[in-house]
Amino acid sequence: MSSATPRINFKYLSQFEGKTIRIIGKVGEKQGNNVILHTTDNGQVIVDRSKNLEKNYQTNIVEVLGIWNNNQLRELTFFNLSDNFDFTTYNQMIDLSMEHKEIFM
């Protein structure tokens, strides 16, 4: 089984308490060391960037890889994505892969 970090969206977060995950979203408000990420299924995630502050998000849409704990995503690293990134398609993909975990995870 591959050890790739699973890609999820907002509604599945509860299943991954304490785990490392990837999540994609539009960059929102900054609050000190935290950033709000608007996910592809219209959820809001607080990203704690304290360990990665030197690097700045370069685009409006990013994928954040981090540990989900206590309602916060502690960022480990991130990836810049194009503004053309299609939320609808990506969200459908997430739902499908979660419904058929045996194939994807």
Partner: protein, 663 residues
């Protein structure tokens, strides 16, 4: 085992209509050469035998073996006919199966059935002239001819054997031979008696080995009409057809203008068609007399095997007129006007080229009138249209010359323009079958053929006109417009798994989503080609020479011949890519890259260009062909077309839709 009882003396009683629903047994079954076949069988009443010919509606019962050897039937409706060879036979129009016996009932003797009508005398004369089952009553030539007869009898047997060999051509007569042998032993005396008549008859026959001549009927009096399907049963007899002319060709010259001929196609009441050819004198006599659409009695014609390469008809037989032929105009009551045997386009696309087909379809696209140079006749006009039918397939039809010039089909095909073609020729170009209009092709524009046309129009209006054609119906390089979206995609592993290319000499077309992983830099990238025929040219005498076109040129045209690797999650495959697709992949004209590589020798730039062409994801249309090479079969894969993945969003949506279908 149930015992079946046959109606006693049924066959005699049937002659005079003295019996109702006679019960008879099937003893031998024969099939006609027509399509669909009609069946005939020897029917027995336990003491006598004759032939029964069964209407079309019974064909299926024969095919399904509901009627077979020893089946017992009850005949409720029948007609009699006189066939000179077989005598009186019955056309069975209504019957029911009583049951299946497992052996012959009674001991029927094969006897000539003599009809009880005025023609008896005439038939007897004919019977004497034929070397078949011998009738019992021959008063002539008895004792006096004994010594001569011995010798003549040997000759007779010799001629008999010759005749037997000739008869083998006709499959209905194979059984007759057995009868013949038996009868020879039984009726030797009778053979002797008939020698003189036989001799003159056989002389006639030697002349006509491959033709079966019939003598004309007596003029006046009633015509006893034979269906076209019954023709093959006539060896030396006579028959009359009542037919309508469905087609009349132009007069044509042959043998350096020494001879002339024309053809006509005839259709009878049952819808069977047969072609008749008129030669030389007969052309003069009948060309103006015969009119398309009119009906005639035709008799005194010769029967021979059809030459299907020249005729669109399905009949295995053809007729030819001679000095004995008689044709008279008559009533056209109950005679159909056409019998088309339309083939669906999807079948035409996979049949062998060279044959003639009829098709009923709607025009999808009208091409442009073009001027085309021909070898011998200067310039001629050419016009192609694309037609489609309910089979979902399309095919190109090409009109030439005047017909192209005068073709008035509206380019707006929305309403549905129906085109019916009778006898168009199947050709092949670029690995795809097409249709050509030849001089004998009949063209019908928006014809009123009844329900079949209505169904075609209905199909067109309710989606047929928007239907994207199934490209697998078109073996060849012509692919439908949106194949990368609409067509079923396979995986690369399918090439071996499904053994693509093995069963189709023209190759199989398939579509895949894959990534171009590698562009070979070591294999030859391009070749010097002839600008005319694209074949490789050889260096010769300071220039280049094309052997196919036999032309010399100063410099060749360079064309791509790349080898690439495509890969997907199931594996990878090597694919050959030629111009013009290669240009699109590499992004550079062939001359330019050759310049870069050989003339400038800029290797690093060359490598960069090759690298940039790699790792492109897309949809690929491939042609897989299998060839024998040094005793082994090898698959060859060529790129037909490709669409690079530029719109991931759209492609993903397609995939998602496909996935939904699985859930």
């Amino acid at each position: 085992m149930t015992q079946f009882q046959l109606t006693e003396n049924a066959l005699d009683k049937m002659k005079n209509n003295e019996v109702q629903d006679p019960v008879l047994q099937i003893l031998q079954i024969k099939q006609s050469n027509t399509t669909p076949p009609k069946y005939a069988a020897m029917i027995s009443d336990g003491t006598q035998l004759t032939w029964g010919y069964f209407n079309r509606e019974f064909t299926q019962m024969f095919e399904e073996k509901k009627i077979k050897l020893y089946t017992v039937i009850s005949v409720s409706s029948f007609f009699s006919r006189v066939l000179p060879k077989r005598g009186l036979i019955y056309l069975i129009s209504q019957m029911t199966i009583v049951g299946q016996a497992d052996k012959m009932i009674g001991n029927p003797k094969s006897q000539r059935q003599q009809p009880n009508n005025q023609n008896q005398q005439q038939n007897q004369n004919q019977n004497q002239n034929q070397n078949q089952n011998q009738p019992q009553n021959q008063p002539q030539n008895q004792p006096q001819n004994q010594p001569q007869n011995q010798q003549q009898n040997q000759q007779q047997n010799q001629l008999n054997q010759n005749q037997q060999q000739n008869q083998q051509q006709n499959k209905f007569n194979q059984n007759q031979q057995q009868n013949l042998n038996q009868n020879q032993q039984q009726n030797r005396n009778q053979n002797q008696q008939l020698n003189q008549q036989q001799k003159s008859f056989n002389q006639n026959q030697q002349q006509n080995v491959n033709q079966r001549i019939s003598r004309p009927i007596t003029q006046g009096g009633e015509h006893s009409v034979t269906p076209i399907s019954g023709i093959e049963n006539f060896l030396y007899g006579q028959f009359t057809l009542r037919v309508r002319v469905t087609f009349k060709s132009d007069k044509r010259n042959f043998r350096n203008n020494k001879g002339q001929l024309f053809n006509a196609d005839l259709i009878d009441e049952e819808g069977e068609e047969i072609r008749i050819t008129f030669f030389n004198d007969q052309v003069e006599k009948y060309y103006d007399y015969l009119e398309k659409g009119k009906a005639y009695y035709v008799s005194g014609v010769a029967v021979r095997q059809a030459n299907k390469a020249f005729s669109p008809l399905k009949n295995d037989n053809e007729l030819s007129a001679n000095s004995n032929t008689l044709i008279e105009a008559c009533s056209d009551e109950n005679l159909p006007y056409h019998n088309f045997n339309f083939d669906p386009i999807d079948q035409i696309l996979v049949c062998n080229p060279g044959k003639f087909v009829s098709v009923l379809a709607i025009v999808k696209q009208v091409g442009q009138l073009q001027d085309i140079p021909t070898k011998n006749r200067g310039m001629t006009k050419k016009l192609s249209v694309l037609i489609g039918d309910q089979s979902g397939a399309v095919i190109e039809v090409t009109f030439w010359g005047d017909r192209a010039n005068n073709l008035k089909i509206p380019t707006d095909t929305e309403k549905g323009y129906v085109l019916a073609l009778r006898g168009s020729k199947v050709g092949n170009f670029n690995n795809t079958n097409n249709l050509s209009i030849v001089s004998s092709t009949q063209i019908f524009h928006n014809p009123e053929f009844g329900p079949i046309v209505h169904d075609l129009r209905k199909w067109w209006q309710s989606g047929g006109k928007d239907q994207k054609t199934n490209s697998l119906m078109r073996s060849g390089r012509s692919l439908p417009e949106n194949w990368h979206i609409d067509e079923e995609k396979k995986t690369l592993s399918a090439i071996e798994e499904e053994n693509l290319g093995a069963n189709n000499p023209k190759g199989d077309t398939m579509f895949v989503r894959a990534t171009l992983t590698h562009l070979s830099r070591t294999d030859r990238l391009y070749y010097p080609s002839c600008p005319n025929c694209k074949k490789k040219v050889q260096e010769q005498g300071g220039g280049w020479f094309c052997f196919k076109c036999q032309q010399q040129m100063n410099s060749p045209q360079y064309r791509y011949t790349m080898t690439i690797n495509l890969a997907d999650h199931t594996g990878s495959y090597q694919v050959s890519v030629f111009s013009p697709h290669a240009e699109d992949l590499i992004g550079m004209q062939c001359d330019q890259i050759r310049n870069l590589k050989e003339v400038q020798g800029d290797d690093s730039k060359f490598q960069e260009i090759m690298k940039n062409a790699e790792f492109k994801m897309g949809s690929w249309a491939l042609k897989i062909q299998e060839n024998e090479y040094e005793g082994k079969s090898r698959k060859k894969c060529t790129l037909l077309d490709f669409h690079l993945m530029d719109d991931f969003k759209a492609a993903s949506q397609i995939l998602l839709k496909e996935i939904q279908q699985y859930l």
